[in-house]
């Protein structure tokens, strides 16, 4: 079981959290002007990264804040945890 560092509450057991998938996906503002393909890209397409991955979690049974972590999908090692609105650690970002 993982231990996840909540930026507000510190390290807590995974059982307090719920997973939110890939981080840094922005909702398009001009959805009216998007083609079906462009909209589907936002809606359905997600990375399946092997290695360092930026993802959203919610401290669901704690402070209820959503936040981001960088987690290695192979080793499960979490190398960064940061608040929504903050930038990922330097040089880090999910591949386009």
């Amino acid at each position: 079981m993982l231990q996840i560092p909540c930026p507000w509450c510190g390290i807590r057991d995974e059982s307090e959290f719920s997973y939110g998938g890939e981080a840094h996906i922005t909702r398009p503002l001009n959805s009216e002007n998007l083609t079906d393909e462009e909209w589907a890209d936002y809606l359905f397409m997600r990375k399946n990264t092997r290695g360092a991955f930026l993802e959203q979690w919610q401290h669901a049974q704690g402070c209820r804040r959503w936040f981001n972590i960088q987690r290695d999908t192979v080793s499960y090692k979490i190398s960064a945890s940061y608040k929504v609105g903050e930038q990922p650690p330097q040089g880090m970002g999910n591949e386009k």
Binding site: M1, Q3, R27, D36, W39, A40, L43, Q58, G85
Partner: protein, 1002 residues
């Protein structure tokens, strides 16, 4: 009966004799015995039949590694299958029996398999029984009876199992020399220490060794150290506890056996406790297991591991043989020989594959008359249910072939040692990759991935002095990593240095037969895997060790390869002409030793605590009134209230009629309730819901649909505007938590600029919906301060008042099409409100109704239930509810409604269904077809989502999702049932009752 008990002390309590029964016969042992030592003391060597060939088997080892002495403990509800006799502590009245034998251990009918073993090579089952496929089921039945181990209990487990979480700075697994020393070091540094060991006593190898520490027997140092540890406040000692799983983030699972060692009548409280430990640092001091040697008939009773022999003699004072031969490739067996001599037993010879294995002990043994036969091996043993001789041959120079004549040496016990394998299971589970060490001929723990370190024998250090110093270092280091300072006062105990000669690996003993011929040379005794099976697998093209494992069953079973794996991998490597590190090892996975299902399931198994049961403030009342309950999410909701003699249908019909004709009441407290506050609340609702919210008047209510971003209906409910910048949202019962989280997510991650705060008030308010033509009279009698006039308090509006002097909010909303009011009060006063409403309604025969009647009433009106009439693939348009979808503003999911797939022809749409015979009630989930006589598979055009008998209408009604349903009005469709019957139904509007909606506007 022969008594093998020695004069020496051992660690048994001779003042406490214990009676026990094995295979129906009574025996006696002592407190401190294991079942295995007690059986050996009674000269019982034959304890089992093997898994596949039903060969007679004896006790091989002395602990978790034991592959043969697998027994069924006790009977009935308390029975335990597959207990290792070497780990079962003896208690008064213990009953055990052998597994794998039929009709009995001495004469096993299936031992005939042994005669045909040549015809049952590895992969035998796959090759023989897989064809024809149809018969596999009946083959399997026979195979299961013939093979398999113990029998699962057939009755519910009466035991209780505790669970607890724990945290510590340093978790030390294994309380042998390294573990005890590590605990002492870390404990003195004030670290929070947990020390666990699977045995009843701490001490590990020191409990049976002849060594001295600080000039005293090692056993004395053990008891002094345990005493010191017990006095430390932050040190927790857990004997009888197996650390069986090492998971991510230093999460270690430990199974503590609390009562297994007690007689049946004296067991109280939980049987086991599962410890779920988060350790900052872990020290693995799990010791090492001795390997057997692989020669012909090495599985016969009377062939034992050398270390086990020593343990039985020294710890349990049991003479496991009188005339003993030792077969070894390393020095450790010489200590066993010394022990045997000291105990007055006869060591006839030591067979050693090495050239002139001269150690100080060897010289001493020779002087005591022990014959040391070097450069030789045991090629076979004689005797079936107990050996009576060994056959010895010399090795050719080079050591891979035998030569000369066979020398037969009579004996009743062969103690063998093929070297030592560090117990790296937990290290490997933690992610460290085991690495092969040629010098020590064993796998060593790999570079740590997590915060752990190995010390002592589990780290490949096989002498006491170094075990203690490695332990101290590990304890110091681990506690330092947690921020504690080393205690300078700690000293290493004084131990004599022993010089060991190098081991000479002997993976497969050469014989006079060609490879794979001759009597079986067993590698994995529990799974009856012989050397020839592994060679066959290699010949048949299995080169990966993982594949060979699965093909031959090497390393399966309760011992998980503790005995056989290393020899097996080495033999595979030889067959593939690789070295061992190239072949590698199979992955070690939890559990290290078998763990009861009860321990993992824990105390909440099956009972009312397994999953939270959420109850409303009126739950007790419902229960008292005899309600049947339905699970809705975690909530218990009244389903219907049967009166004496009523069936469910009777009750529901009565409740529905009473509600439409006079007044009914339902507990609606479980609906999700969320306060939305802030100047952007209206804007937020606009984005969340498909319809518009900003122009809703204060104290007015509106129905809304929430979609996923994919355009599919996610939740629905009524929201009320309480103030200019404050709304009160209702969600579905099941949707409360996910919708709340969903809303927070949008606010926090996508729209942080919106000034909106959310607060859940689901639990704060108790809600009673009073429904029916007489509802106004009932509610107005109970609620003060509100003008209930139809015009003053119109449909879809909300008022504040008092109920019994308590603040209350009354919403005039309806989920039945009737005149209806939902009365909300703080839940502490919910029961009082409910009882007041019941009293006020008495004159109108107010009828409490449950979720089933609620479903019927809403279906009569064609109101959908999200999650029942929708399934995540349904848009509001599919439901024919475009009226609730704004054309002018954006909202979550809007763009998806125009995706090609959402606007195509032929989507499933919600319609009503009326069976041609009104008394037929369609099954929910029933598939709909156009032509029931079409050839199979018949194309399906939809399915029934809701279906009920309507007492108000006098016939059955249903709702269904049907392809292009809205343009099929009046068509007849068919619903084939599982029993072959076909029901015909006509597609209709889904509004069956009061289509103009007049009843709720009175």
């Amino acid at each position: 009966m022969k008594n093998n008990r020695l004069q020496g002390e051992g660690r048994i309590n001779r003042n406490r004799p214990l009676n026990f029964i094995f295979n129906g016969k009574s025996y006696q042992g002592f407190e401190g015995d294991t079942l295995a030592s007690a059986l050996l003391a009674n000269d019982v060597h034959l304890v089992a039949r093997s898994w596949k060939y039903h060969r007679p088997r004896g006790i091989l080892g002395s602990g978790a590694e034991e592959p043969n002495a697998i027994v069924q403990l006790e009977k009935g509800r308390l029975t335990v299958p597959n207990a290792r006799a070497t780990q079962v502590e003896l208690y008064e009245g213990l009953q055990a029996s052998s597994v794998n034998c039929w009709p009995g251990l001495e004469f096993d009918f299936l031992s005939i398999n042994s005669l045909f073993s040549r015809l049952m090579p590895s992969g035998f089952y796959y090759k023989t029984f897989m064809w024809p496929k149809k018969l596999w089921m009946s083959y399997e039945h026979v195979i299961r009876k013939a093979s398999g181990l113990g029998v699962s209990p057939e009755l519910p487990d009466p035991d209780r199992y505790e669970k607890t979480y724990a945290h510590c700075d340093v978790l030390i697994i294994g309380a042998g020399p390294a573990g005890l020393m590590a605990a002492l070091a870390a404990g003195k540094m004030s670290a929070r220490v947990m020390l666990v060991d699977e045995q009843s006593e701490f001490g590990g190898s020191m409990l049976h060794s002849n060594e001295t520490i600080n000039g005293q027997p090692a056993q004395d140092w053990v008891s002094d150290t345990c005493e010191e540890l017990a006095s430390m406040q932050e040190v927790k000692l857990l004997p009888r506890s197996s650390a069986f799983g090492y998971h991510d983030y230093n999460f270690v699972t430990i199974n503590e056996r609390l009562t297994d060692h007690l007689p049946t009548g004296q067991k109280t409280g939980g049987r086991e406790r599962l410890w779920k430990v988060r350790a900052k640092q872990v020290v693995l001091a799990t010791g090492a297991l001795e390997r057997p040697l692989v020669f012909a008939n090495n599985d016969r009773p009377g062939v034992m591991l050398s270390s086990a022999v020593m343990q039985y003699v020294n710890r349990y004072a049991v003479a496991v043989g009188q005339e003993i031969v030792i077969f070894t490739n390393n020095d450790s067996a010489y200590e066993t020989a010394m022990t045997l001599l000291e105990a007055g037993l006869k060591v006839i010879a030591i067979i050693d594959n090495r050239i002139n294995p001269g150690s100080s002990m060897a010289d001493q043994l020779r002087s005591e008359g022990v014959k040391i036969i070097d450069q030789s091996v045991v090629v076979d043993v004689k005797g079936s249910k107990r050996i009576n001789a060994v056959q010895v041959m010399s090795l050719q120079p080079g050591g891979d072939k035998v030569t000369g004549s066979v020398q037969t040496i009579a004996c009743d016990l062969l103690a063998m040692s093929g070297g030592w394998s560090p117990v790296i299971h937990l290290s490997s589970q933690s992610g460290a990759k085991a690495c092969w060490d040629d010098e020590k001929a064993c796998f060593l723990p790999g570079v740590p991935i997590q915060h752990e370190r190995s010390a002592g024998a589990s780290n490949g250090c096989f002498d006491l002095k170094n075990c203690l110093s490695e332990g101290m270092l590990a304890g110091n280091e681990a506690a330092q990593q947690c921020g504690f300072e080393v205690d300078a006062s700690i000293q290493l105990p004084v131990v004599n240095e022993v010089i060991f000669n190098r081991i000479k690996p002997l993976w497969l003993v050469p014989s006079m037969f060609k490879a794979g011929r001759g009597p079986k040379q067993f590698v994995d005794m529990q799974n009856d895997v012989a050397a020839s099976d592994i060679m066959l697998a290699a010949r048949e093209g299995y080169h990966s060790v993982e594949h060979v494992k699965r093909y031959t069953a090497l390393g399966f079973g309760t011992d998980q390869g503790k005995i056989g794996n290393i020899n097996g991998m080495a033999i595979l490597a030889q067959s593939l002409q690789q070295n061992i590190s190239e072949t590698g090892t199979t992955t070690f996975r939890p559990n290290y030793t078998p763990v009861t299902i009860g321990s993992i399931a824990g105390m909440n198994l099956g009972g009312e605590l397994f999953e939270p049961v959420r109850k409303t403030a009126m739950h007790g009342w419902h229960k008292q009134e005899g309600a049947e309950f339905e699970n809705v999410g975690q909530w218990k909701r009244p389903w219907y209230y049967p009166r004496a003699g009523e069936s469910m249908l009777d009750a529901v019909n009565r409740e529905c009629l009473a509600t439409r004709n006079s007044v009914g009441i339902i507990d609606a407290s479980t609906l999700g309730k969320i306060i939305i506050e802030g100047k952007d609340s209206g804007e937020f609702l606009n984005r969340l819901y498909t319809n518009a919210w900003k122009k809703l008047d204060i104290n007015k209510a509106r129905y809304g649909f929430m979609l996923g971003e994919d355009g599919m209906v996610m939740d629905d409910g009524v929201t009320i505007r309480l103030e200019e910048n404050k709304y009160f949202m209702h969600t579905t019962t099941g949707g409360a938590a996910p919708v709340f989280s969903w809303m927070e997510r949008w606010l926090q991650t996508e729209w942080p600029e919106l000034e909106v705060f959310l607060t859940s008030v689901t639990d704060h308010w108790a809600t009673a919906a009073v429904v029916g033509p007489n509802s106004r009279k009932v509610v107005s009698a109970v609620c003060e301060g509100i003008d209930f006039d139809a015009q003053a308090f119109p449909f879809m509006s909300s008022r504040e008042g008092l109920v019994n002097g308590i603040e209350a909010r009354i919403n005039r909303i309806s989920f039945s099409g009737e005149l209806a009011y939902e009365v909300n009060v703080p839940a502490n006063y919910g029961l009082q409100m409910w009882e007041s409403l019941m009293a006020a309604g008495e004159q109108y025969d107010i009828t409490p109704y449950g979720t089933e009647s609620m479903h019927v009433l809403r279906a009569e009106k064609g109101y959908v239930i999200v999650g029942q009439d929708t399934d995540g693939s349904v848009t509001p348009v599919d439901l024919g509810m475009d009226w609730v979808v704004s054309k002018v503003k954006d909202f979550i999911g809007r763009r998806s409604l125009y995706r090609e797939d959402c606007v195509r022809e032929g989507r499933k749409q919600l319609v009503g269904l009326l069976t041609l015979n009104g008394s037929d009630v369609l099954p929910e989930g029933g598939q709909i077809v156009e032509d029931p006589n079409a050839s199979i598979p018949i194309p399906m055009i939809g399915h029934v989502t809701s279906s009920y008998y309507s007492a108000n209408l006098g016939y059955s009604i249903a709702m269904a999702l049907v392809k292009g349903g809205l343009s099929r009005m009046g068509e007849t469709v068919h619903i084939p049932l599982a029993d072959g019957k076909v029901i015909a139904a006509k597609i209709s509007s889904s509004i069956f009752y009061d289509a103009d909606g007049e009843k709720q506007n009175v």
